[in-house]
């Protein structure tokens, strides 16, 4: 019988992770105010969305890993069905077919839900096998991953497809895929990249070309990269000050409150602000990995690890894209960029993480 259980314990929330997440969210709102052109309405809208997302996190945190595992095939199956539905009858917006409209209720993006359903499914499958997985196990995992990834890629939403694939891959990697196989996979992917070129849409090819030579199209697609690196670079060490970024305040930055919000951050708060935020992300990831390792079983460890690593991939891809070392793919900066869906998914993921950890502790402390 351990002593008095803290409020955090009773709520199954990890205080350290909560603290860092709230710091990040608060900082994000400060940057958003500037990035939205000082529109308070945008900040209020985002705050209320974050409230909903935090509530979702809190609720999910109350579930037990056993429940999660039990529901996983259903969640995965339903999400996959929805992706098929999107393929057949999805709402077309902005040249892509990503949304499912539930009449009178909402527009819904099933690929977003798959970001969680995918690692859950793979972890559920592998947790019942011997680790490291056998070749046949890997084949099943590949099937679990391939169906949704192909469906999402066809929408087309290559960015999300890759991230969903990553989420699944992380589970497999953590489960002990042999290093030799990892190497083989790396070579395979490297070799397949040129093939990928032929399956890409023109606008996607354009993005890659523009990434390689932003100056070749300074007024079109290259504009974003040139403007965002200019914003970052001109920020210097200490930045131009909050609301003082000329690149962002004068609307030179495109999508400055969504995918390119990092440029606003870097321009107004400089290297100092950027490193502060990167540190925060690093601490969240490290805490997440630590929590994952405290999990009671393989399922928890695999799922939690995958969730936190996927979260990091978001950070890396977004900052890499805005600072010009990765091609522009539509990936928001987690928990800072404006937008509801991704915040809900991400915080739901943290909910799962905490559920896994809290369950372990509660049991072991009994």
């Amino acid at each position: 019988m351990a002593g008095r259980r803290s409020l955090w314990d009773r709520l199954s929330l990890d205080p350290w992770l909560m603290l860092m997440l709230l710091l990040l969210l608060a900082g994000g709102l400060v940057v958003l105010y500037s990035a939205s052109g000082q529109r308070m309405a945008t900040v209020i809208a985002q705050t209320s969305r974050l409230g909903v997302a935090l509530a979702a996190m809190g609720i999910i945190a109350q579930l037990t890993p056993r429940t999660l595992m039990r529901w996983t095939p259903l969640v995965y199956g339903l999400t996959l069905a929805m992706l098929v539905a999107v393929e057949i009858m999805g709402d077309i917006g902005m040249g892509a077919q990503r949304w499912l409209v539930i009449p009178g209720l909402m527009r819904f993006q099933p690929s977003e839900l798959m970001k969680l359903a995918m690692p859950m499914m793979v972890a559920t499958y592998l947790a019942r096998r011997h680790l490291p997985p056998s070749f046949a196990d890997l084949g099943v995992c590949a099937l679990i991953m391939a169906a949704p990834v192909i469906l999402i890629a066809r929408q087309p939403d290559l960015g999300t497809a890759l991230l969903v694939a990553c989420a699944g891959m992380f589970v497999v990697l953590l489960a002990g895929l042999t290093w030799r196989f990892i190497l083989f996979l790396g070579v395979l992917i490297g070799g397949a990249l040129p093939l990928l070129w032929f399956t890409m849409h023109n606008y996607q090819r354009q993005r890659v070309l523009t990434f390689l030579h932003p100056e070749s199209d300074p007024l079109g697609a290259g504009w974003n990269i040139i403007q965002s690196t200019t914003a970052l670079g001109s920020g210097g060490i200490w930045g131009k000050g909050w609301l003082q970024g000329t690149q962002s305040q004068l609307e030179f930055l495109p999508e400055r409150h969504t995918d390119f919000i990092v440029a606003v951050l870097g321009e107004e708060f400089g290297l100092f602000g950027m490193l502060l935020v990167l540190c925060l992300y690093l601490l969240i990831v490290m805490r997440g990995l630590w929590l994952a390792n405290q999990a009671q079983d393989s399922f928890g460890r695999l799922l939690a690890g995958s969730i936190i690593l996927t979260f990091f991939i978001y950070v890396f891809v977004n900052v890499g894209m805005v600072s010009g070392i990765l091609p522009v793919v539509g990936v928001p900066l987690p928990l800072v960029s404006y937008g509801g869906t991704s915040s809900v998914t991400l915080l739901a993921g943290f909910g799962i993480l905490m559920a896994i950890y809290a369950h372990h502790r509660r049991r072991s402390s009994r």
Binding site: A175, W223, T229, L232, S234, Q247, M274, L289, R301
Partner: protein, 640 residues
Amino acid sequence: MPRPRHTLKNAHQEMQLIRVRSWVAALAVLVLIGVLASRLVYLQVMQHDVYITRSEKNRVRVEPLPPTRGLIFDRRGELLAENRPTYNLTLVRERADDLDATLELLAELLELPEKEIEAFRQRSRQRQRPYQPALLMSDLDARQIARLAVNRYRLPGVEVEGQLLRYYPDPEIMSHALGFVGRINTDELERLDSGNYAGTHFIGKTGVERFYEDALHGKAGLRKIETNARGRVLRELERSDPVPGQDLTLTLDKRMQQLAVDLLGGRRGSIVAIEPATGDILAMVSTPGFDSNQFVTGISVANYRELQDDIDLPLFNRATRGHYPPGSTIKPFMAIAGLSEGRITPRTTIRDPGYYQLPNDSRRYRNWLRWGHGRVDLERALEVSNNTYFYSLAHELGIDGISRQLRRFGFGERVAEDIYGESPGLLPSREWKRGRFDMPWYPGETLSAGIGQGYWQITPLQLASATALLANRGHRVPPHLAARVGDKEVRMDRTKIEPDIELADAGWWQDVIDGMEAVLSGREGTARRSGQGLKYRMAGKSGTAQVFSLGKDEKYNAEELAERLRDHALFMAFAPVEDPQIAVAVIVENAGGGSSHAAHLARAMTDKWLLDFKHLPRLQRAGNDNTSVTTQKTPGGVEG
């Protein structure tokens, strides 16, 4: 390394495995964060200077403020060149919701023909950077502007922009004298001060517009503005106002220009009138003219070709660039040359049998009157335009004497102060012929030169200028077109002017002028018909310029010749003789004899100036003595 299957799940071993993997993952995360951090250090520390400049350039734009071009007035303050506001249609593509629909609506509103719509679409596609307006159409009319204004709400991204455009109210009569402005071309772009012309689209191409370009243009101002990415001006950081171009007042009188054009009546020709005392050019006309307004916005290729291919050469400024043999109009100057060189006196006479023969030469150089004028002195030689007298004088002077003396009247040189593109004409001389043809000068050619034929090439402006010099009795005042630039009088720099022509006996001037007066008033005067009913004393000289040379003893018959091979008619005159107020040169191409066709034009010009406009004081000149506000002195005996 393959592990045995079908064994019990080893929870501890699995935990170890995942833990190792987590460590590896954590390491990878650290490495990747390091990659991002070093990229940020590179951008924000090492490349900071580059990007700070770039971001500064991004937002701060220096925008030139073009000055407004100075206006041009005639001597009486009549507007000759003004700036008219015109309206252009521009489109910012990014702001148009549906580009095709917008263009369609515009085409409908502006009632554009199919051909223009395509050009329109093409222009809408070109741009330099995002949110930059593209010019769709220039010079909208009031109706179009009104239609656009009413439909504004349906046309996002469409703007009507105002611009000042040069406009010439009387292009047909002023085209050659004024010149015109046109769009700056690439050549001009290279030699222009790019700062001062940054916002200017037009520049003087010819005439006064070109010569006084600097004064008319003014000084550009600039403003530093902060813009957003759409190019919208957010605030002005710095401003220096442009200095507008100075207004130009010309010496020309629009009414005299009009009269000259009317007199020429659509024929090819030129009239130049000068006020001898001041050098003011009162009229300078070359016909046919053209519509200079066409050139301002850019003349269409078809229209330009039409002008260029016109056999009457409307674009050619005959007054300043037209080359004509002076014919007999050269005789008064030859007379001055002879007096000056001491070859003749006013009382020298010759006997004219109808021809002149060089010593030891059988060839006869004919007078225009086959049977000759008998005994001829200087005055009568001018009155009847006797060739024999001037053959003889030419022979006495020799070509060297002729070219030396006639150069002093401005032949073979540019005479005006401020005329763009003036031609120097051609004064024949031994050296010139040697240089041009590598041939010696033949004595016969001297005789031709003596009556203004042969190699001679003068411009109407030169002839008018020389006439004014004669009227002034050798006092030089260079002709000029500008009276005032801004508020400042245009002052002739007297030190640069060659000394006045001085004769041993100043009375000789009058002797030559008497001969010229007889041309109009004498019993035998070649222009006596034009001199009928003169209310003032007028001196003149007719001239006929051969377009081609007749063969020896060939008879000239104007009717049989194609119109364009006929002689040019010339006349030069000034009046009143005792106080010259106007000197005129008239050239009518292919009109036949000078006396009949050109003289009455000159008479009409002097009549108008002296009788109809005589009450007008001379153009006020600050600093000069203004005592010469003259009223016409009517010479005795011509009253009636």
